[in-house]
């Protein structure tokens, strides 16, 4: 859905113009919708530069060249960058990829700053950072023209050189009422203060024509300057820019979220203001670990978190929403009970989870036991069919007589193990507590039946932890069994005898940390912790032992939406590790200390905040992140069906 919107550029004047000039051609052409005039009424191109190029990757063959324009319409100025079609040699990048980078008319009201780079060797480039956090990938000016670009911008908006870095130009923030005032007065030329960083802005002179407004402005200007200086003092700014260049993360972020951000800013889902609020909460949250740190003297200097800036203001996860309730749930269904827009439903659940009473219905869908297209009636029918099927499988072990069991050691062992474990599973939860609790017996029956259903995988510790909330939610033996089966289709490899599912996730995690926090990665590397075994429990049972029961259910339904990534749980691991990075590195934790520290985080993890961080990290990592995770890594479905359950007689001893 978003893609379609992204690709639909018919309302983009500049796109239409470029279409006509033949320099760019995007995709689906609805020529009827396109106007014949090259610019909308009153629009004027005030700057145009060809061969402005984006470097999505390190490969020269994947660079994308395009045309950068500044367009003036009324008192507003917009920036566009449209890639050329078919000019580059980049066979590896699809048309779609190229279009994802397209910058459609971005008003300078939304631009926070522009960073200029003028290296002695190589091309000049700029990075444009938007006021609500998004940064576009570096734009390389193959034909020069950065100075001209900035001069043109300066003619139309307030542009101030940062006091901290002469290459950073701060642009109007039109959300500030003062700025709106300034802009409405059309005074930008007068107040542009490039090269005069900390001196008061000489507005008086030019404002003299507007005497009635003059007092207001003069009074407000110092305040404005102070604000800008605060921005300038933020040491994370430059770190971030370095990181942006280093990892091309902005590139990835921009291409994947540009459309989303613009789209959602408009539809009032999470406008810039709310984002700002959520940014604030992220800031508060980030203080917690440092409070913690005060208890223990930090012994070693900690290399700064390269993504801290990103975390604080470049990208951040959206605020969580309240759980999905009855009315809203019903609105996702048609009259016969089909989910009309599964993607929208999954997205909604991603951001807020479910009210408990709907979990029973929705988990079966999320897990894939029922399909989204099924009707009420079909689901009821499947329920009865599957109940019979379950009973048949269950009967396979129930019919084993005592005499037969004597001759079947494997069965006795498996049964004994399950019986020992179900009585050690969530007994503090009222649903499972007390002597002779029938729900404990249900856990046993379902697990034993599963070990016959998937005889190769059998039973392994941790499965009871995964089943427990499912039975608690489904409140039905057969339904719980089939939901568990669906879950194990994805998480089964966690329990392979050779632990390959776990190893592949731990490996992917190490790659993600390397990408998203290289100093932390280097610390683990030099300490020889790269096996990431300290995150074993987090991954094996999806943070169940780290969270309260209710929180576990909420996390799981969020993970099961697979909204941003199938592997959000790995980003969650990164988010937690990053949160405590300064403690881990600062105290030079050895393996045992780290393991103990991680274990003791149980009950300390703020789920909502960590989910927001994980989302931000996931977006930030983009395709680079996805590339860290080998295909088939759980909970992705296995690439080759046979391979994951191939236990055979492989003996790890």
């Amino acid at each position: 859905m978003q893609e379609a919107e992204l690709h639909d550029l018919s309302d983009d004047a500049d796109y239409v113009a470029s279409q006509q000039q033949g320099s760019a051609s995007m995709m689906r052409c609805d020529s009827g919708k396109r106007s014949s005039s090259s610019e909308p009424e009153g629009a004027q191109i005030v700057y145009l530069k060809d061969n402005v190029t984006i470097h999505p990757t390190l490969f020269a063959s994947e660079r994308i060249s395009g045309r950068l324009k500044l367009i003036k319409q009324g008192s507003s100025i917009f920036m566009t960058w449209i890639p050329y079609k078919g000019q580059s040699t980049n066979a590896r990048l699809s048309e779609k990829d190229r279009n994802l980078y397209t910058i459609r008319a971005v008003p300078f009201a939304d631009v926070k700053s522009i960073k200029r780079h003028t290296p002695a060797l190589g091309w000049q480039y700029i990075i444009v950072v938007l006021s609500f956090g998004l940064a576009f990938p570096p734009l390389y000016f193959y034909n020069g023209g950065v100075r001209e670009f900035l001069a043109t911008v300066k003619q139309h908006v307030l542009l101030m050189r940062s006091a901290e870095d002469s290459n950073v130009f701060l642009v109007n923030d039109f959300q500030n009422p003062l700025q709106r005032t300034l802009s409405s007065l059309e005074l930008p030329r007068a107040v542009s203060a490039v090269g005069v960083p900390s001196t008061p802005v000489p507005v008086g002179e030019s404002a003299s024509q507007q005497n009635e407004e003059r007092t207001d402005i003069s009074a407000s200007i110092p305040q404005y300057n102070r604000r800008q200086r605060q921005k300038g003092h933020d040491p994370a700014r430059d770190i971030s820019i370095q990181v942006l260049e280093k990892f091309s993360l902005v590139t990835k972020f921009a291409r994947e979220t540009t459309s989303q951000l613009f789209h959602e800013t408009n539809n009032n889902g999470f406008g810039p203001l709310e984002r700002r609020n959520s940014n604030q909460s992220t800031l508060d949250y980030s203080h917690k670990p440092s409070d913690y740190d005060e208890d223990v003297p930090i012994q070693s200097p900690v290399e700064p978190d390269p993504l801290e800036f990103d975390k604080l203001s470049l990208v951040w996860g959206k605020p969580r929403q309240p759980p999905l309730g009855l009315e809203e749930w019903t609105s996702f269904l048609d009259s016969e009970g089909r989910v009309v827009d599964p993607k929208a439903l999954r997205k909604r659940i991603f951001y807020g989870g479910l009210e408990h009473k709907f979990r029973k219905k929705v988990w079966a869908l999320l897990l894939g036991y029922h399909t989204y297209e099924s009707t009420y009636a079909e689901r009821e029918y499947q329920k009865s069919i599957k109940k019979t099927e379950y009973e048949t499988i269950k009967n396979q072990w129930q019919s084993i007589s005592r005499e037969q069991a004597k001759r079947c050691t494997k069965f006795r062992e498996r049964k004994g193990l399950i019986e020992k474990d179900v009585v050690r599973t969530d007994r503090s939860v009222s649903f499972y507590n007390g002597d002779e609790n029938p729900n404990v017996n249900l856990l046993r029956d379902i697990l034993l039946t599963y070990s016959f259903y998937n005889f190769d995988l059998g039973y392994c510790q941790g499965m009871s932890d995964l089943l427990s909330p499912i039975l608690f939610v489904m409140e039905d033996e057969s339904e719980s069994f089939w939901c568990f089966v669906a879950l194990m289709e994805r998480l089964g490899p966690n329990f392979n005898r050779d632990q390959n599912g776990m190893h592949s996730q731990l490996f992917a995690l190490s790659k993600l940390v390397e990408l998203l926090d290289s100093p932390l990665h280097n610390y683990f590397k030099q300490s020889d912790f790269l096996n990431y075994f300290f995150c074993f429990r987090w991954i094996l049972i999806q943070f169940k032992r780290e969270l309260e029961y209710e929180e576990t259910m909420r996390l799981w339904e969020v993970l099961w939406t697979r909204h941003f990534s199938e592997h959000l749980h790995l980003y969650l691991c990164v988010a937690v590790l990053k949160r405590y990075r300064s403690k881990i590195i600062g105290e030079q934790m050895d393996f045992d200390t780290l393991l103990k520290f991680i274990n003791e985080l149980s009950g300390q993890i703020d789920l909502d905040a960590t989910l927001r961080d994980a989302e931000a990290l996931c977006i930030c990592a983009g395709e680079n992140g996805a590339a860290c995770i080998p295909p088939g890594t759980p909970p992705s479905l296995p690439v080759d069906d046979g391979s994951f359950y191939n236990q055979q007689d492989y003996d790890v001893l």
Binding site: E413, L417, K420, D421, V423, R424, T425, D426, R427, S428, C460, Q461, G462, S464, D465, F495, N496, R497, D498, Q499, M502, N531, F533, F536, R537, L540, I541, R545, D590, F591, D592, L595, K596, N599, E600, V652, L653
Partner: protein, 211 residues
């Protein structure tokens, strides 16, 4: 609180033999029949006194299921002592001792002190392994041996402390280079015998619970 030495222990053995219960009995002096099964590894610590020296025991309690052994093995490194536990009422847990031992010998340092514990001695009426068999196995493999009960606390204290005393003796005999932490021993305040640690003034059998 400061210690003269820190010893790292690891508890190993089949699932359900009572590893976590032994640890809890030792660190908290209580028996909790209903607790969650161990995933990965859990952790406990307690201070004891040997030869008037406060010694901190840092104990890693591992998951017993065979599937996890490839992970569990990474916890062997740098352990000074191991408690190898079986359940006297389940013969198979005794039968598996050899493979546990092999794992330990392979992945732990050669001088690791191993204590064999036949747990659940309170369930003598359901005994499936005799005391003599346990003794015999220990003798053959050079282990210290005790039967214990995490439920009644019988011999629990003794098992942990006797292991520590053995390690301590090895230090006195110069078996370890204590500056090398890969032996699972850390030196605290340079080994000065201080009254601060010897609360009960006992010698090699002393125990405190001031962690």
């Amino acid at each position: 609180m400061s210690y003269a030495y820190l010893f790292k222990y690891i508890i190993i053995g089949d699932t359900g033999v009572g590893k976590s219960c032994l640890l809890l009995q030792f660190t908290d002096k209580r028996f909790q029949p209903v607790h969650d099964l161990t995933i990965g590894v859990e952790f406990g610590a307690r201070m004891i006194t040997i030869d008037n020296k406060p010694i901190k025991l840092q104990i890693w309690d591992t998951a017993g299921q065979e599937s996890f052994r490839s992970i569990t093995r990474s916890y062997y490194r740098g352990a000074a002592g191991a408690l190898l536990v079986y359940d006297i009422t389940r013969r198979e847990t005794f039968n598996h001792l050899a493979s546990w031992l092999e794992d330990a010998r392979q992945h732990a340092n050669a001088n690791m002190t191993i204590m064999l514990i036949g747990n659940k001695s309170d369930l003598a009426h359901r005994r499936a392994v005799t005391t003599e068999e346990g003794e015999q196995f220990a003798k053959e493999h050079g282990l210290i041996f005790m039967e214990a009960s995490a439920k009644t606390a019988q011999n629990v204290e003794e098992a942990f402390i006797k292991t520590a005393a053995t390690i301590y003796t090895k230090i006195q005999d110069g078996v370890f280079d204590v500056s090398n932490e890969s032996y699972g021993i850390k030196v605290g305040y340079s080994g000065i015998p201080g009254p601060s640690g010897g609360r009960d003034g006992s010698s090699s059998q002393g125990g405190g619970c001031c962690n």
